[in-house]
């Protein structure tokens, strides 16, 4: 019995990428293409790839952790010399094996959203960067916006995301912070609707019968659930309830424009799809060296905005410009390192 490194081009000196730009393979992996946010992510990746004259390999794993791992190890078993991966790990626990695999195979990796707190990007050579939005901050921002919308006092209910995801937990922690700052706002109930519009509809209906007119606001951990809650409100004939969400999906922006929804927080899918590939591409082609990436830029919060009726017009059609992906401008949206 002996150890073998699973990959083909094992453990090369990745720090000094010297790939011919034409040899670079770009891979973007998200859960599925059947939700607008992730589809736009992959489209952003395509746009970047086109910009550098390549194509992006689009992978989806249908929210199935094992399948994600399976695809990645299969991917890493192929030619990894100039492989650039921009990955959305399904959950925190899925990140370490992806990172280890990429490190062993010498593939350039950028991850987004999910990472265990104790996993340090700087400990790795080929894991270039981890980007996420500050979930606690978003949860708190929309919590505050909700509190303001209901006049600083009254009952609200919370719709949580998939309970064992970091995003769901962070955002809920943010809500709790906001509640601490708004002592007159009372959390009547919290339920999970698993980030799903349909589940949110049913749960909200039930909560509406349970708490009736006590509900003044609904805090949802993402826009899909917020939209489900809006449907439930509409069906119940209630138009006095404020709803907030996170993600800035097009429908939510429309709802904010129309005034049915109070606030959301931007996450910029197309940019996320492009930026991960861009970082990898710049390192792979030698335009950027890993050691030149600032420690703060190895794991960072991307810029996000609270979107309300007054500024929604700015976000209706998110645009990414080529300049966002230039090798010397990659980290311009950083809001600071993940603490």
């Amino acid at each position: 019995t002996e150890t073998a490194a699973g990959g083909g081009a094992a453990g090369g000196d990745v720090a000094s990428g010297a790939c011919d730009p034409a040899d670079v393979t770009l891979v973007g992996q998200v859960r599925n293409e059947s939700n607008p946010y992730e589809a736009s992510w992959l489209d952003g990746g395509d746009a970047f790839a086109e910009q550098v004259g390549l194509t992006q390999e689009r992978l989806t794993y249908d929210g199935d952790s094992t399948r994600q791992q399976e695809q990645i190890s299969q991917l890493l078993a192929g030619d990894t010399e100039c492989l650039v991966m921009n990955i959305l790990p399904n959950g925190d626990s899925d990140t370490p094996p992806i990172v280890e695999g990429a490190e062993a195979a010498g593939a350039y990796l950028v991850t987004q959203w999910n990472k265990p707190a104790d996993l340090n990007v700087a400990d790795y050579d080929s894991w270039l960067s981890h980007i996420t939005y500050d979930g606690v901050e978003s949860g708190r921002q929309i919590g505050d916006a909700l509190a303001e919308a209901i006049g600083g006092s009254g009952g609200i209910v919370a719709l949580q995301g998939i309970l064992d995801t970091g995003a769901a937990k962070d955002r809920f922690a943010g809500l709790e912070e906001s509640l601490a700052g708004n002592p007159d706002v009372e959390l009547l109930d919290d339920q999970t609707a698993n980030f799903s519009r349909a589940e949110a509809l049913e749960v909200t209906k039930t909560l509406l019968t349970k708490h009736g007119d006590d509900i003044k606001g609904i805090w949802a951990a993402n826009d899909d659930m917020a939209l489900g809650a809006l449907e439930a409100l509409q069906q119940a004939g209630r138009d006095d309830v404020a709803v907030v969400g996170i993600d800035a999906v097009p429908d939510a922006l429309t709802a904010i424009e129309e005034g049915t929804m109070t606030a959301t927080v931007s996450s910029d899918g197309p940019w996320q799809g492009g930026i991960g590939l861009a970082i990898g591409y710049c390192v792979a082609t030698g335009e950027l060296a890993v050691e030149d990436i600032a420690a703060d830029d190895r794991a960072w919060f991307a810029e996000q905005f609270l979107i309300q009726q007054d500024n929604v017009a700015d976000f209706v059609s998110p645009e990414t410009s080529e300049a966002d992906f230039a090798c010397d401008n990659l980290f311009s949206r950083s809001q600071g390192a993940i603490s």
């Binding site: 309970l163 109930d189 069906q235 429908d251």
Partner: protein
């Protein structure tokens, strides 16, 4: 050659029973369980026993009821059907793109709904054909069709959420008649239709008979294959309608419109007293099962069980309900699969 009458185990168990017509006591388990669960929640939670919550429970049961009616016909035959998520997804996207929506200029209204249901029936038919022509067990055939349906839905979805603007379809979820949403009346209509089909149509009775003793039908000169295909087609149509209903509720066509409905519908049917081996149960049984499952989901929220535990408690109660229902019929040499 099939051997005649693999004489269903029922025959063996019912050794010397009294001749029996229609409903019997052994069907009473699920309704009793429903009443008990309802009573317990009503006692525990004042919010649960309000009229508006009862309306809410009925409204919430609508989609599951339609899916379960479809699946009941398949289960009656002794087959299984896991295609609901795919078929519902395909029909949800299709209808959203055919009625007035924000993606294109279509405004087919009722025709759009009909097309979506027809497409769904076609996908159901595909399961049936794979079963009778390729002899692929329904478990796999329908799992395959579900994947095909999801694929189709993803293709049609093309990255942009279709939101509907059709007043009729949107109205189904919002407008009420006698306190219940139109969707709930549609579901009730489906229950009635399903019951009539089961009781008064050859298709329904043969589906029942196929579950009882398929070989015997062949011996009697009945060609079962067309009926099997027809049952899967009918089930597909019901899933399609359910997909349309979800679209109406959410005002948007979602690829995931049917996520999870396969197992919840089977659970509801089985809790209602339909046997997975076929030949027993029916639409009314399944309806009771749907109500039981919906009451549970609603009641656990009303009572305030932690979201972490809700799934587990629901599983436990389902098992307990089924156990309570089968205890009176327990026999020494009984076969349970």
């Amino acid at each position: 050659m099939t051997s005649p009458a693999e004489a269903d185990t029922e025959v063996v168990q019912a050794r010397r029973p009294q001749p029996r017509r229609g409903v019997s006591l052994r069907d009473a388990g699920p309704p009793i369980a429903l009443v008990v669960v309802f009573g317990v929640f009503a006692a525990l939670s004042p919010g649960f026993r309000t009229l508006s919550n009862v309306q809410n429970v009925l409204d919430a049961a609508a989609v599951l009821a339609v899916v379960t009616i479809g699946i009941s016909f398949v289960l009656m035959m002794g087959s299984i059907d896991l295609s609901a998520p795919g078929i519902m997804g395909a029909s949800a996207i299709t209808v959203a793109l055919l009625v007035a929506n924000n993606r294109n200029d279509n405004d087919l209204g009722f025709v759009g709904i009909a097309v979506a249901v027809l497409l769904a029936a076609g996908l159901g038919c595909l399961s049936g054909l794979a079963l009778v022509l390729l002899k692929v067990p329904s478990f796999m055939a329908t799992l395959g069709v579900s994947a095909v349906g999801l694929g189709l839905a993803t293709l049609l979805f093309a990255g942009v959420q279709p939101n509907i603007a059709d007043p009729m379809l949107e109205g189904w979820a919002v407008e009420r008649f006698l306190g219940l949403a139109h969707l709930t009346w549609i579901a009730l209509g489906c229950v009635l239709l399903g019951w009539l089909v089961q009781r008064y149509s050859r298709l329904g009775r043969y589906a029942f008979a196929i579950g009882g003793a398929e070989e015997v039908l062949a011996l009697s000169g009945v060609r079962v294959a067309p009926y099997k295909v027809a049952v899967f087609t009918l089930a597909g149509a019901f899933y399609g309608l359910a997909g349309v209903m979800v679209t109406s509720q959410l005002s948007a066509g979602l690829v995931q419109a049917g996520r999870g409905y396969d197992f919840s519908a089977i659970t509801a049917a089985v809790v209602g007293g339909t046997l997975l081996t076929g030949g027993r149960g029916g639409i009314l049984h399944s309806t009771v099962g749907v109500l039981l499952v919906t009451v549970l989901t609603n009641g656990l929220v009303q009572v305030g069980v932690s979201p972490y535990w809700q799934g587990g408690v629901q599983g436990l109660i389902v098992v307990a309900a089924v156990a309570a229902a089968v205890i009176p019929q327990r026999r020494r040499n009984q076969v349970t699969k």
